[in-house]
């Protein structure tokens, strides 16, 4: 390469990389960071992608939201009983993504997460359904192993994973887990 080509290439490449970095930095501030979300049950987060309607479920979290589950009725009394978690089934908030809403239900038994059931997963198109169907069992296994919503996102299913874990976190918050 001649000097002029080298200079042109360096300048253009540096611009592209810095531009990309900058865009990524802006995105990181506003994008959902599900792995480390410590939002409250009311999902009073500033998260742009969390639907406000989803908070409805969570605000009534103190009742344990047992109605939607066929499993043993949660006797979750109050979120105020923050000292320890209570056995039962808790429904997380609905989290909107560009591929569809995500909502999960968690079952707590003996002070441990024993099951996570997806009530709704990303379903805007066939591809989303396929990806979410693949991601859900992986996420469930990870959550059961880690006993928390702080697990890695599933590759290729970033949005589903983030929403899944965020909804889960809101359910866990209700349970005082």
């Amino acid at each position: 390469m001649r000097t002029r080509a080298l200079i042109l290439a360096s300048a253009a490449s540096a611009t592209a990389i810095l531009g990309g970095w900058q865009l990524g930095a802006i995105g990181a501030v506003t994008a959902p960071v599900a792995q480390s979300t410590q939002t409250t049950g009311t999902t009073a987060s500033t998260d742009a992608s969390t639907s406000t309607s989803g908070t409805g479920t969570s605000s009534s979290g103190s009742t344990g939201a047992t109605g939607s589950s066929g499993s043993t009725a949660g006797t979750g009394t109050s979120a105020a009983a923050s000292s320890s978690s209570t056995d039962g089934t808790y429904t997380g908030s609905t989290v909107s993504t560009r591929f569809g809403d995500v909502q999960v239900q968690v079952t707590i038994s003996g002070g441990a997460i024993t099951d996570v059931t997806p009530l709704h997963l990303t379903d805007h198109d066939g591809r989303s359904v396929m990806i979410s169907n693949q991601a859900a069992p992986i996420l469930r296994d990870e959550v059961l192993q880690a006993q928390s919503a702080s697990v890695y996102l599933v590759g290729g299913a970033t949005y589903t994973s983030q929403a899944y874990l965020q909804s889960l976190q809101s359910a866990l918050d209700q349970a005082g887990f």
Partner: protein, 470 residues
């Protein structure tokens, strides 16, 4: 020893004092070359920037995430370079006219191995990164990855790509017939198409609704469209329009023939001496092979001529071609022509059948009497393919013709006896520093001429070479 077959050195007049048109043209072309090269490098940077814009810069916190991120970058850069390779081989007029076919195919060839290493890195790093993140072993991770959408197809694509690269390694390629190698090379289209779906389905970066997806789709579709347009549609349209037919065959030697072809509107091709076409003779057993051959005469009227030596099986078959055979053509290609001129004077250096583009370039090139020198490596002082024709053109245009007969020496591009006499390019060509040197011959020999030219202080833009081996 070197023989002065025709001397036109005395005809040279006082050199022009103002910079010639050649320099202005060279400067314009070199700008295009620089911009294309910068564009290539920038496309790699943009591929990485796509990942960073998706927040990739924050995904290096844990070993698993960092390895995964590197794997994604490797895949992005590899795919970008595959598209670059396709474009380099797509005969895009912009690239062909600026860089030339030879240089662009040279870069195409050089990129094969690095791209394969990047693709291996892409697979291995992602496997390891996922395994670390999931906390499971590599085998279990491989099983789980296999079930991802379009992944088996992508692995098939990699296998095809690896096959193409391996078949092009120098050691392997030498053992293959050109025709077999070419057929294997066509698998690359399958490889590219097979690798495509997983980029958009598994690659979260290109999820629906992202601008990255649009960019990636645009460069992919753009590249494939260029391939279809310039490698498939253009040649067919060109062939239908010009209706080329073999008009006659002249035997030059026992294994060398000149093939004359006639067609319609051939002046519209805009071909000049030194350029080449890719020819496909529609005769039984031959129609499926295409061969690059240089014009051995400046296009005149509605006639094109090539001169072919039986080097491979394909060119051997051409010895028996019949008049009336229809010919498909693709071109004109190459900047081994006036298009790459940068200086006032011109020196044409050829060995063996490399004389063909030299012969036509001598006819087409612009020079004043005494400003051109032809140096030919020949079997004997006054015996060489097309030598009589070259002498006739040299007489009428005022060019000097020198032959250096005998077998090639142990070092350099001259014969041993000529080398002992201290002969070199600078000794044979007057005012070499103000000369464009055009070299055509076997690879090793051409390289030796180029070394001689560079050591005489010539700038790279003054040296033009064309290789006729594949």
């Amino acid at each position: 020893m070197a023989f002065l077959v025709h001397d036109a050195r005395d005809l040279a007049r006082r050199p022009r004092t103002v910079a010639g048109i050649e320099r202005a043209r060279a400067s314009k072309r070199l700008w295009r070359v620089d911009l294309l090269q910068a564009g290539l490098v920038t496309s790699i940077a943009i591929a990485i920037a796509l990942f960073l814009a998706d927040g990739g810069g924050t995904r290096f916190a844990t070993p698993g995430a960092a390895i995964t991120s590197l794997g994604i970058i490797a895949g992005l850069v590899a795919t970008d370079l595959v598209l670059v390779m396709l474009l380099l081989a797509a005969r895009v007029p912009l690239i062909e006219r600026a860089v030339g076919h030879d240089a662009s195919m040279g870069l195409h060839g050089k990129l094969g191995k690095p791209v394969m290493y990047l693709l291996v890195a892409h697979g291995v790093l992602l496997l390891a990164g996922y395994a670390l993140s999931d906390g499971i072993d590599l085998v279990a991770e491989a099983v789980s990855i296999w079930s991802l959408p379009d992944l088996p197809l992508a692995i098939l694509g990699f296998a095809l790509f690896a096959l193409v690269v391996v078949s092009s390694l120098v050691a392997v390629r030498r053992k293959l017939r050109y025709e077999s190698w070419h057929l294997i090379h066509l698998l690359v289209y399958g490889a590219v198409l097979a690798a495509l779906p997983h980029q958009f389905s598994v690659g979260g970066l290109f999820a629906e609704g992202t601008w990255q997806r649009w960019y990636w789709m645009a460069i992919t579709i753009g590249t494939l469209a260029a391939v279809v347009a310039f490698r498939f549609v253009a040649p067919i349209a060109l062939s239908l329009r010009h209706r080329l037919v073999v008009a006659g065959i002249d035997r030059v030697d026992h294994d060398v023939v000149s093939i004359r072809m006639r067609g319609v509107d051939l002046d519209k091709l805009g071909a000049t001496g030194g350029q080449f076409f890719i020819w496909r003779f529609l005769a039984p057993g031959q129609w499926w092979q295409a061969h690059p051959y240089s014009l051995s005469a400046h296009p005149r009227g509605n006639e094109l001529r090539i001169t072919v030596r039986a080097l491979g099986t394909g060119s051997a078959d051409l010895m028996g071609i019949r008049p009336g055979t229809r010919v498909m053509l693709e071109g004109p290609y190459g900047i081994f022509s006036e298009a790459s001129r940068s200086r006032r004077r011109i020196a044409l250096v050829a060995a063996g059948i490399g004389v063909t583009p030299i012969r036509s370039l001598l006819e087409s090139a612009s020079f004043r009497p005494g400003e051109a020198t032809v140096v030919l490596r020949t079997p004997a002082a006054n015996d060489g393919w097309l030598l009589d024709e070259i002498k006739a053109i040299a007489r009428s245009r005022g060019a000097t013709v020198i032959t250096v007969p005998g077998p090639r020496g142990t070092t350099g591009w001259l014969t041993d006896s000529a080398a002992r006499e201290g002969l070199s390019l600078a000794a044979l060509v007057p005012e070499l520093d103000d000369t464009d040197v055009y070299v055509c011959g076997p690879r090793g020999w051409s390289d030796a001429v180029i070394v001689d030219a560079l050591s005489s202080g010539l700038k790279p833009e003054q040296i033009h070479h064309e290789r006729f081996d594949w």
